[in-house]
Symmetry: C2
Subunit: 566 residues, 2 copies
């Protein structure tokens, strides 16, 4: 046994409450090292050889180095003490909080196995601390809309110089095409037909640019898009069709034309907003920068979210759109650069306005620190994005590596965060999926298919479903193509069919997921998703050659081909 490979951390993603009565306990070992791994557990105030239980654990994820074991336990008094038991051949080793022990019955002292004081502990399952994301997200299929580019429903709102909305229109960093909220309302039929049930809008608050990430007024719809009444109408009409709305909260920084920042530019340290930003030295200067910004962008001054006034203002914004306008969630821009304390208050504010609102952090990196139940429901799942692209689209990694990278996310967070993770393949910030695939529609479809059959909420970037192309910003921000003869209908039907399949089967939404085959060097995988008696076995091949996948070991019972129905 390789003891150095064994890892457990109490009160973390390795030991957490899944719901008000259930604990998940996990442990890591070297891949393939153990014959059996168990949790030995009992009530911490009654922990004796007679009262303890031994629960066998199962491998639920693996990567190139490690196996990850998991077990679900419902302790009768919502608290317990535990140790791990590792078995390999004739050898048995125990791990408790003090360390490894080979002899279970003859250890002594504080670290002995039968004394709760040496055990790991889950001290008490308090319901208020349980990470509980909204249930509806498990059933959600998101559709991302960049408002300036989805549809122009009200030409009277067009900004000066609006360019013609044609299939060969060329987006630049500065130009405008006149997209607006009425355009979205007008096309709800289209979205309903595709089957999506939640729209994620990049910002539509008043701002200077076409992307609107440089906010001027967080409480106002940009006049190019409509007004608050129109936003409310959009929310209501979408809700009538069972479509929810998520907005984009850019709270890390404001835009250059945000009035408080303009005031500080003008009045310097005498401005009544002087404390709203992170100013190192007055007056404000851009070279060298005398204030903190997003990245090194002078036009995006970082807001001081520790300042009670700034906090009160932004929390009112958070409340207003949820409570008064009725939106169903917030996607938080640059979420990991804002303080944790702000996000805790943000969560309280938003959940008070609507306990079912979804709070989604934009974080490109490991996000465990935000997924403990006190801050975000989930994060944008870029590690999964990258793994899907690397395996299905770019052909850069093999099946084993793909499995390892996906399974690392399974152990990275509590299960409930992965169940509502936001799985995107592209966005307004990246080249479009078809572009990444070099125009290879088969590869694009493999990626989309995996996304739509995997755990977590998939998100489709507007237009991908009809074959829109384009490189990084601004190429990926072309106006939506509405001309039927310029749309790829076969691709649309592919998306529509997969979305419907996901909707029809809970196993494909929050059912269990496990790889059946993912070998070293292989270009194909198979995996299983199950819920109750509903079981799916899916095999996907990225190779140009045909491969056989042996599923006999797992496939007991009758299976139907979900494509042909046979």
């Amino acid at each position: 046994m390789l003891l150095e490979a064994i890892h457990h951390q109490p009160k973390s993603q390795y030991a957490y409450a899944y719901d008000e009565e259930t604990l998940h306990i996990r442990v890591r070992t070297k891949r393939g090292d153990m014959d059996q791994v168990s949790v030995v557990w009992g009530d911490k105030y009654d922990f004796t050889p007679e009262t303890i239980t031994t629960s066998k654990m199962e491998v639920f994820a693996k990567d190139t180095l490690f196996d990850y074991y998991h077990v679900e336990i419902k302790p009768p008094f919502r608290r317990f003490a535990y140790a791990f038991k590792f078995e390999k051949g004739k050898k048995t080793v125990f791990l408790n909080e003090v360390g490894f022990k080979e002899d279970e019955m003859h250890s002594s002292g504080v670290g002995m196995l039968w004394s709760p004081s040496g055990m790991f502990e889950f001290p008490f399952l308090n319901p208020i601390d349980v990470h509980t994301p909204p249930e509806w997200v498990k059933d959600a299929v998101f559709y991302q809309i960049f408002p300036e580019r989805f549809a122009n429903g009200d030409p009277t709102l067009n900004p000066p110089g609006t360019e013609a909305w044609t299939p060969d229109a060329v987006p630049t960093r500065e130009n405008f095409f006149g997209g607006d909220l009425q355009g979205v309302i007008d096309n709800l039929d289209y979205l309903e037909e595709l089957g999506i049930n939640c729209i994620y809008f990049t910002p539509f608050f008043e701002a200077y640019s076409n992307h609107k990430y440089d906010t001027i007024d967080y409480l106002k719809v940009d006049p190019q898009f409509g007004d608050e009444k129109k936003a409310k109408e959009l929310v209501e009409k979408a809700h009538e069709r069972g479509i929810r709305i998520m907005l984009d909260a850019v709270f890390n920084h404001s835009g250059y034309y945000f009035p408080p920042f303009q005031d500080v530019l003008k009045h310097g340290e005498k401005s009544r907003f002087a404390d709203w930003f992170h100013v190192k030295e007055f007056p404000l200067q851009t070279d060298p920068l005398t204030y903190d910004t997003f990245g090194f962008v002078p036009a995006m001054p970082k807001l001081d979210t520790e300042n009670p006034e700034v906090k009160a203002y932004l929390l009112e914004v958070a409340r207003y759109w949820v409570e008064d306008i009725g939106v169903d969630g917030w996607r938080l821009d640059v979420a990991n650069e804002v303080d944790h304390r702000f996000w805790r208050e943000f969560r309280d504010t938003v959940k008070r306005a609507n306990p079912e609102a979804y709070i989604l952090g934009e974080i490109w990196h490991n996000s465990l620190a935000w997924l403990q139940g006190d801050q975000f429901d989930a994060v944008m799942n870029y590690p999964v994005t990258n793994s899907i692209l690397d395996f299905f689209v770019k052909d850069e990694i093999d099946a084993e590596n793909f499995m390892g990278r996906l399974d690392q996310m399974m152990i990275a967070y509590p299960k409930q965060a992965n169940e509502v993770a936001f799985n995107l393949l592209d966005s307004h910030d990246t080249p479009r999926l078809l572009h990444i695939a070099d125009g290879n529609k088969d590869r694009m479809k493999l990626a989309a298919m995996f996304q739509l059959l995997y755990l977590g909420a998939p998100c489709i970037y507007y237009g991908d479903e009809i074959g829109m192309d384009g490189g990084g910003d601004p190429g990926c921000r072309k106006p939506m193509i509405w001309e039927k003869d310029h749309q790829d209908h076969e691709l649309f039907d592919f998306y529509k069919k997969l979305i419907q399949l996901r909707k029809d089967h809970r196993a494909l939404r929050d059912g269990s997921f496990r790889f059946l085959s993912a070998s070293k060097g292989a270009k194909y995988i198979s995996f299983e998703r199950t819920h109750g008696k509903d079981r799916f076995i899916i095999a996907m091949n990225t190779d140009t050659k045909q491969h056989d996948v042996n599923v006999e070991d797992v496939a007991k019972g009758k299976f139907r081909n979900i494509d042909t129905g046979d």
Copy 2:
């Protein structure tokens, strides 16, 4: 290189802000495995081979399996991206967030080394999130007083049946000896002479028992001890001598005679306090228990700290004693069974009343989940207690094991939590130190000496310093011996001298700590503590034989014998 042994977790005790400009980065490797370990880092918005820095890491802790490396970094823009570089012989391996890579320059894709998107990240150092315990605790030497047994200063308060305060008095679970707050005031001279500068009181609020953990009224001093005026007088007189006061907050459960619980006992679900406890079924019954309790003790009903009324009541208690009476800290009883959310609000309340108040959790197990800056300043350091007892007193572990268990605590928490950890060797809950040592005063002195020269705030249990003895509760709760001829003056002087030494040298308080020798099978250790030019090399032998310790490698410069002055 054993890759399975390498461990790092972003935004954890392996990567945290130490102060408003300093980050600590740590990584674990197999013990003795590496020639050199470094952090490769740069600003995450400007991360190129030209702008990155390589910082060498140092081993700061080790145990039987692992080495733990550490480095301090001050990123100019309070954010950074990083990877690790491991070197052994001719082999170099890099670790970033995506995994291990052997080739630094020719990797490609999202996981490539020179792309910040594949790096680990510390996204932004927001001051409000920094874990900042009060500075004074680094200089504190605590003295624990069990109020009923320290001194009887006002016999008019004696409860009926008070027994005689004699050196051979026998404490029972039920009897009383008349200790009170006036008794503590009367003996501040004694405490000042010993050199302690903070008193930790077990509860003195109104309660039924002699230990007062079964609270009746949290806002009232028990009439056997005095009243709120007397408590304020005690605080003021202690403060005049530079002695601070910490109280015991028993917020997990109330006592049986707590009026709200009595009301629920009487009125059942119609009681206006019906929601103050965790009642599974009315009426309340004790066999089987129909409500949650501390352990399985029916007389200690668990309070529902999620209930806003309960929360408001307890937070007012927390505020009152700090703001109105002036106490300097709270020790939180059974802290890990109360919800995290309550403790966050508790911290806000207490720090608002006094930003310098010390918040100390009673947790016997790994406490990382409470030591992130949003809940406790520190915890009672039982793992260190047990390690010191096992090595110096019980002779149950060797030097290598001792080092390993102590060093595991160094990596278990952020450094600032260890700097103010509460290091006790015994208490009202355990046998006395001299009893654990089977009366062997030499062993007792070794343990106390290590405690007083180690990182973290030491705490002396009343009477230990004059040679008091006694087993577990009630034996350890004898009345303090004030008769001079029954006190061990040599032991008192030993404690006094060590406390003074600690006070005279910052190196012995929050200076660095590292083991110089701690070998397998050995019964002796040596260690170094330094601050600036002040350096101490301390060797301690638990064996009956003499051993030579080679400190030539480390001891450059002139050293003085701190005992003889030579």
